[in-house]
């Protein structure tokens, strides 16, 4: 085959804009028509376009970063499982399994639809939605206390959900039967299906405008250009080997202080301008469910490298291919069957911390103190006495974001890989028999520094007229978020139970099913973040504000900044 003609940079940009438009539109369509608050309000979903070689072409910019490479997982698994001529127009495939479909955890259900133009396969329209429940032993399919993948929910290998335009009812029934709140699941699946179909329609229109051949050529050239762009950005990092190590709190099953270690290499001639992240020295896989499948590790590293080197780089294969990743097979960062993985986001956040920590000396103006570094999840379930309906309420709570070269960190935000909204208190109390007593910052939790770390969040929730069942996942409850260039560590978080007599007792970082009675309350506190630069250089104006805002106590200020 002769080399296709080079598309000029203007035609390419116009095509890129068209491809982005497709992933934008499918993202919005999925969000607008979904049923669960997890997608509509928290936007825990993503859309992408992947080519027949399994390469990422375009990922909607609003996608959750952790979905990036598991989005490739399903299509990659399909391409391994089937010959290209097995795909038919109107087919839609579904999967979620980390071990047979390269997923990242079971609640993230991926759909992939082959799109044909002029009878030829041009690409796959893909999306992922985080389903609020996928079955398994605990409501929400995310709680601690699970030690193998089978306990975490229904495992879906790559299978057809639609066969040439017809729903495969047998499969759909099976999926719905194995999840709690099946009506909500059905609505979310419909939304995912509608997004695939809209994408198919739009791709066909795009092909009618630009020609199928031009689009396929554009795929290649966009990837090549993005790859070159990434190599250029990597070349700005001084050659060398950069090491960093941190630890995870524990896995809830006896393993504690598990190391997450990285060595990042830049400028090694064998890499051809790419960057290598080697996680040798990280902990073996653990019994608890915070193991990371390889695709989720890749998503995390891609996030960290992109945020540090080129936040505006297009999300396509050219960017992914600029990063070489090594993680020992069977380690906590490259989990092997049947390791439990539901809470992998906590470990992913720590991976990002160590990558950012390792590169901090090389990129001091872009470095940040360690953040909340967790994906603290709280899940309540029970039966609403007023309506008689059973409920599952899942939420992840943000925390502090690290101090930066020119300004303080951020207080009470989702950090790094996670950027999902909270659920309004009025929505929580209307939909679930719970009362949120308070929601605010944790004073003194931001690490001192020239630019201080952000504050963690605190939420107090109590069940109304019934006993609720709580499970949770916390991290950085024992291991504080470190500062950089002399900045101090931020405060750690914790789950606490307030008893009827008002006394408060600590809970484990990853509590299993725990009943909470109406005279008790659950307190969740998340970690703050590390500071940037030595505290003694913090301006008087900033220190005055720290006190007047009551975000920091006079005792804390005296301890970290001295009395002046």
């Amino acid at each position: 085959m002769s080399q296709p003609p080079e598309l000029d940079p203007i035609t390419l940009e116009v095509i890129l804009s068209g491809l982005r438009s497709v992933t934008d539109e499918t993202y919005i369509a999925l969000m607008k028509s979904a049923f669960s608050t997890n997608i509509k309000e928290r936007n825990d979903h993503s859309t992408a376009l992947i080519d027949p070689a399994g390469r990422m072409i375009s990922l909607c910019e609003r996608s959750q970063p952790i979905h990036l490479s598991s989005m490739l997982g399903l299509t990659g698994a399909l391409l391994r499982k089937y010959d290209l001529d097995a795909f038919r127009p109107g087919d839609i495939f579904v999967s979620n399994d980390p071990y047979t479909a390269d997923g990242s955890h079971l609640p993230d259900v991926a759909l992939s639809m082959p799109v044909f133009v002029d009878g030829e396969l041009l690409c796959f329209m893909c999306n992922i939605a985080h389903h609020a429940d996928i079955g398994g032993m605990a409501p929400g399919s995310m709680s601690g206390g699970m030690t193998e993948i089978y306990q975490e929910g229904l495992r879906i290998p790559p299978v057809r959900l639609f066969n040439q335009g017809e729903v495969v009812a047998d499969i759909f029934d099976l999926l719905l039967l194995n999840a709690r709140v099946p009506d909500e699941r059905r609505g979310d699946y419909y939304a995912q299906i509608a997004a695939c179909k809209l994408g198919e329609r739009r791709i066909k229109e795009l092909a009618a405008t630009h020609g199928r051949g031009h689009l396929a050529t554009a795929f290649d050239q966009l990837i090549e250009r993005t790859h070159a762009r990434m190599l250029k950005a990597i070349a700005n990092v001084a050659p060398g080997a950069y090491r960093f190590e941190d630890v995870m709190d524990d896995d809830g099953f006896g393993a504690a202080a598990m190391p997450i270690a990285v060595e990042i290499t830049v400028g090694d001639p064998a890499l051809g301008g790419r960057i290598r992240c080697d996680f040798a020295g990280s902990s073996p896989a653990v019994l608890g469910n915070i193991n990371v499948p390889f695709r989720a590790l890749q998503s995390s590293i891609v996030y960290a490298v992109r945020a540090l080197l080129d936040p505006d780089v297009p999300s396509n294969q050219g960017m992914l291919d600029a990063i070489e990743i090594d993680a020992p097979a069977g380690s906590i960062l490259n989990a092997a069957f049947p390791a439990a993985v539901a809470g992998r986001a906590n470990t992913c956040q720590r991976v990002i911390d160590v990558v950012l920590g390792a590169l901090a000396p090389a990129l001091p103006e872009r470095a940040v103190g360690a953040a909340n570094g967790a994906n603290t999840a709280v899940i309540f379930s029970g039966t609403d006495g007023e309506t008689g309906r059973s409920y599952v309420y899942l939420e992840t709570v943000g925390g502090g974001f690290g101090g930066r070269a020119t300004k303080d960190g951020k207080d009470g935000v989702q950090v790094h890989l996670i950027n999902t909204s909270n659920l309004p208190v009025e929505a929580i109390e209307t939909e679930y028999p719970l009362l949120v007593e308070s929601y605010g910052f944790v004073p003194d939790s931001g690490g001192a520094g020239t630019h201080r770390g952000g504050l963690g969040l605190r939420r107090v929730i109590r069940p109304v007229d019934h006993t609720t069942t709580f499970t949770g996942q916390g991290e950085r409850f024992l291991t504080p978020p470190w500062g950089v260039f002399g900045g101090a560590s931020g405060g750690t978080g914790g789950f606490k139970l307030r008893k009827a007599d008002g006394t408060v007792c600590d809970m484990p970082t990853k509590p299993g099913l725990t009943p909470i009675t109406p005279d008790q309350a659950l307190i969740v506190e998340t970690a703050g973040a590390g500071g940037y630069g030595p505290p003694e250089r913090r301006s008087r104006e900033k220190r005055t504000e720290d006190i007047s805002s009551e975000k920091f106590s006079p005792t804390f200020m005296a301890e970290h900044y001295g009395n002046d």
Binding site: A194, V413, A427
Partner: protein
């Protein structure tokens, strides 16, 4: 004689449009704005218009005004000391918001700081929960304590937002009363009065912004009213609100947040008026300015209303005309990214220095430079002749881009426009899918300085076949103000399932809302014949969090089956499917009350006797695509008459814009001097 004035204040120009309904006479005047005190340009503009036309100021009967004072105050972060009272345990809510970062990947980008700093946020012991049930009553002693604290902080304005006050407002009302008693000179905003709607953070943010704007708007409107009183007399002053109708100046003082997006809303009102004139119920409006483009979808001769949007990084829960801004305009700068791809915007050359062709120091190629270089814009500038263009300067900056990309200058210039158009198209597509419509079925109404210049390319890319360019594309906002209705929305949040008890449950809510509407009609002195109400039910599947508005007459359609059918149809239209049998609930009841000021401003004319094909004033080579320049006839819009037909390629120039007619497209002039362009396939 009783003249109506429409006054639109933009960042650069203040437009005054005067209209006399009994004679059909109109006058227009455009003058530079005075951003430091916008009232100055308005009063001067009225004076200048009267002087130029002989209109006597005392013959002015009514003034309708669109203002950007609220928006500008937020952009400029004008200081205003606001205190806030929240439910105990929630003083950080304003700062936490929805706990998200504005950009996932950019570690340096932050949300704007909260309008109320933490030390001015006070908590009060009280609690209401689901169903509006009071869990902890608000004690008088607690009110006294917190009011004393707030008063000691000496704020310019106070916002109060308590949990579930959209269902039970007693606590907020008591606090409001106590605050007003203790601080009679300080403006107070209660969330149950500003926007009694579900979702505490959005309601809180809206209430706080309202409080922040109250002192600013008060000062501005007082100045303006005093000035008008002096020159014109005591005539009613209507302020255009974001939802596209006029409210009294008094109401704008109490609820200034309602005017935060007043400017573009007026343009859409003008476009709606035009759509009615040409009998085109479904249209997309495209207003392209210097830095951005505003787009709205019209269906059944009306723009839809959205209930939430972001203003300068803060969420506002308030009805507004559903207009989206796209970051592409005439001043958008073209640049080469590190991967060699050409990007246009979001950076803009703005008014200063402006595009290179303005000759005021711009050194980067912009969309306007490309249009000039390709011959689409005249080297003499707009027909007003006030600003000749520097072709050499445009050519020089485009040559640099051409060199960087290895393309010819012409291809580079065409590329700048193609990419800017692609950005607009991407924006319009996202907006369309969000509303559940296909842009192909719409007519494009193009206005603003650069709208008619790019309309044909945008239309072609979207599959649109028909473009309408109004007679005065630069004055549509001021015209829109004259025809704008007096408008108010009345809302009650409910949670009603579709069952047999529905009709009985709806009746008292509807009765209360209708009574509020009636009271408003009489307060606004709306004549019975001009009074209209429209009821909508916001419905969703139980568990869904986005609502769809379903029109409701109350005559035979209040049974559950009919409502389910109407909702299913709306869901089908929006999302392409519905869920048979899934439980549905009504979440709010809305009545939109309007007092009509509709007038047919540009009466239709008789066909002219002149030839059906007008005479060009000049010709020049123009590039439409990569195949090369075409010698193109240039027409003066002012010389076109009803019935004239122009086959493309053609350029039609007028005082405030330039219209590009592509080869094979056909432009014709209608009875009101609008240009209609049929886009060839």
């Amino acid at each position: 004689m009783s003249w109506t004035l429409g006054i639109d204040v933009g960042g650069t120009f203040t437009d005054v449009c005067a209209y006399e309904p009994s004679t059909g006479l109109t006058h227009y005047h455009k003058r530079p704005s005075t951003p430091a005190n916008p009232a100055e340009a308005i009063l001067a503009g009225i004076g200048e218009l009267c002087a130029a036309t002989g209109l006597h100021p005392r013959d002015i009967g009514r003034i309708a005004h669109g203002t950007t004072v609220a928006t500008n105050a937020l952009i400029e972060k004008r200081p205003c000391r606001v205190a806030l009272i929240t439910t105990e345990g929630f003083r950080d809510l304003l700062e936490i918001g929805r706990q998200v970062r504005p950009s996932i990947y950019d570690l340096q980008k932050d949300n704007p700081p909260p309008i109320v700093p933490r030390h001015l946020r006070f908590e009060v012991a009280e609690r209401v929960t689901r169903g509006g049930r009071i869990v902890q009553a608000l004690e008088d002693a607690e009110i006294a304590r917190v009011v004393a604290q707030v008063a000691a902080a000496e704020p310019d304005a106070v916002a109060v937002c308590l949990l579930f006050s959209y269902l039970t407002d007693a606590h907020e009302l008591r606090l409001g009363e106590a605050l007003r008693r203790a601080m009679p000179e300080v403006e107070i905003s209660l969330s149950c009065e500003v926007r009694p709607e579900f979702r505490e953070y959005e309601r809180l943010s809206t209430t706080v912004l309202n409080a922040y704007l109250q002192p600013i708007m008060h000062t501005y409107l007082t100045r303006l009213e005093d000035g008008i009183e002096e020159t014109v007399g005591p005539v009613p002053l209507g302020i255009n609100q974001s939802s596209g109708g006029l409210i009294s100046a008094g109401r704008a003082r109490t609820f200034p947040i309602r005017t935060a997006l007043s400017g573009p809303a007026a343009g859409v009102a003008g476009a709606v008026h035009l759509a009615r004139q040409i009998g085109e119920p479904n249209a997309i409006t495209l207003d392209i300015g210097g830095t951005s483009s505003d787009v709205a979808l019209l269906r059944g001769f009306s723009a839809s209303t959205i209930h939430e949007r972001w203003v300068e990084g803060y969420p506002v829960r308030m009805p507004s005309v559903d207009i989206d801004a796209i970051g592409a305009g005439g001043g958008s700068i073209a640049w080469v990214d590190t991967d060699g791809l050409v990007k246009v915007g979001p950076r803009s050359a703005g008014a200063v220095p402006g595009p290179a062709c303005y000759g005021r120091g711009g050194t980067k190629p912009t969309v306007s430079d490309a249009n000039l270089f390709l011959g689409r814009l005249s080297a003499d500038g707009l027909l007003s002749g006030s600003m000749p263009m520097q072709v050499d300067a445009a050519a020089a900056v485009i040559a640099e881009l051409a060199k960087e990309t290895g393309l010819s200058q012409e291809w580079a210039a065409l590329g700048i426009i193609d990419i800017a158009v692609a950005n607009m198209v991407r924006g319009i597509r996202a907006i369309s899918v969000e509303r559940g419509h296909d842009p192909r079925d719409f007519t494009l109404i193009a206005y603003g300085g650069a709208g008619p210049l790019h309309a044909a390319s945008v239309a072609r890319a979207l599959g649109i076949r028909r473009i309408m360019v109004p007679r005065h594309p630069g004055l549509l906002c001021a015209q829109g103000l004259i025809v704008a209705d007096q408008l108010e929305h009345f809302v009650r949040t409910v949670h009603l399932p579709l069952n047999d008890a529905l009709a009985a449950a709806l009746a008292p809510v509807l009765a209360e809302l209708r009574m509020q509407a009636e009271e408003w009609f009489s307060a606004q002195e709306v004549e019975p014949g001009d009074a209209h109400t429209e009821t909508r039910l916001e419905m969703r599947y139980l568990g869904q969090n986005f609502e769809l508005a379903v029109p409701f007459s109350g005559k035979g359609d209040d049974d559950p089956a009919a409502l389910e059918e109407a909702f299913s149809a709306a869901h089908d239209e929006a999302y392409g499917f519905h869920n048979p049998g899934a439980p549905i609930e009504i979440t709010s009841v809305r009545i939109a009350a309007s007092g009509r000021h509709h007038r047919d401003m540009e009466p239709a004319q008789a066909a002219s006797d002149t030839a059906a094909t007008p005479t060009p004033i000049a010709s020049r080579p123009v590039w439409f695509d990569r195949s090369g320049a075409v010698e193109t006839a240039i027409y003066d819009r002012a010389k076109l008459a009803y019935g004239h037909r122009i086959e493309g390629p053609a350029i039609i120039e007028q005082l405030d814009t330039t219209v590009v007619v592509f080869p094979k497209d056909v432009a014709s002039v209608d009875a009101r001097h609008n240009l209609l362009i049929e886009v060839s396939a």
